[in-house]
Amino acid sequence: MGPNLLANYSEAVAFILFVIGFANLLLQKNLIKKIIGLNIMDSGLYLFLAAKGYITGRVAPIVVDGVQSVEAYINPVPSGLVLTGIVVSVSVTAFMLALTVRLYKRYHTLNLDEISMWLNKEGR
């Protein structure tokens, strides 16, 4: 075990969230919950990245009063990446929800196992 676990508690939380979301994605039968799990997984990752960019005692990277020294602002790169990531995850969520609606219309269930049962009955 390395030395920094306690100092990095926010990252630990982030990755625990990631794993919770991942487990939801793997284990939940219900599609809606799977999708929520996906969102939690992504949020965990973004939390990790945002925590990485944070530097104690510095402020948000918006230039005020012409101060442009590195010592004044936090790292702007992670914020940009997370911004991209959030937009990606909302698109994915919308697409998955649309798939869910169609599946429900066809099979009247949200449970993936039952759906595969129907498919088995259809003979594959």
């Binding site: 508690y9 926010s10 919950k33 960019g53 936090i74 914020s79 929800l97």
Partner: protein
């Protein structure tokens, strides 16, 4: 500050586990909305106001609305299904024998969607 952060992180974890544990889908969607709002507060604490605005608008706003719209849509499909079964008792015909697009024809002018 650190204590506040720790508390918020704790709420995040509780929300994440609660989503898994709740039976009702509506509840889990609402809990997820709470999760997003807590997340946006955390981002303010991490000095990323851009993310906080985006998360509040996208995560707590639009995503939740989409989830709720889906749930409502699903409920509507269920209602139609019940109507159909009551009107003409077709339940013994396995629905897999009916091609996808004429599923709802029996219901007459039922409201598809």
């Amino acid at each position: 500050m650190i204590i506040f952060m720790v508390i918020l992180m704790g709420i995040l974890m509780v929300c994440a586990i609660a989503v898994t544990a709740t039976k009702s889908l509506l509840n889990s969607v609402l809990v997820f909305m709470g999760f997003s709002i807590v997340m946006s507060i955390i981002w303010i604490l991490f000095e990323s106001p851009d993310l906080a605005i985006t998360e509040a608008a996208v995560g707590a706003g639009v995503t939740t609305v989409l989830f709720l719209a889906t749930l409502k849509r699903i409920k509507a499909i269920d209602l139609e299904e019940n109507l159909i079964i009551e009107e003409n008792d077709q339940s013994e015909i396995p629905s897999w024998a009916v091609a996808e697009n004429n599923e709802k024809v029996e219901g007459g002018a039922s409201d598809e969607l």
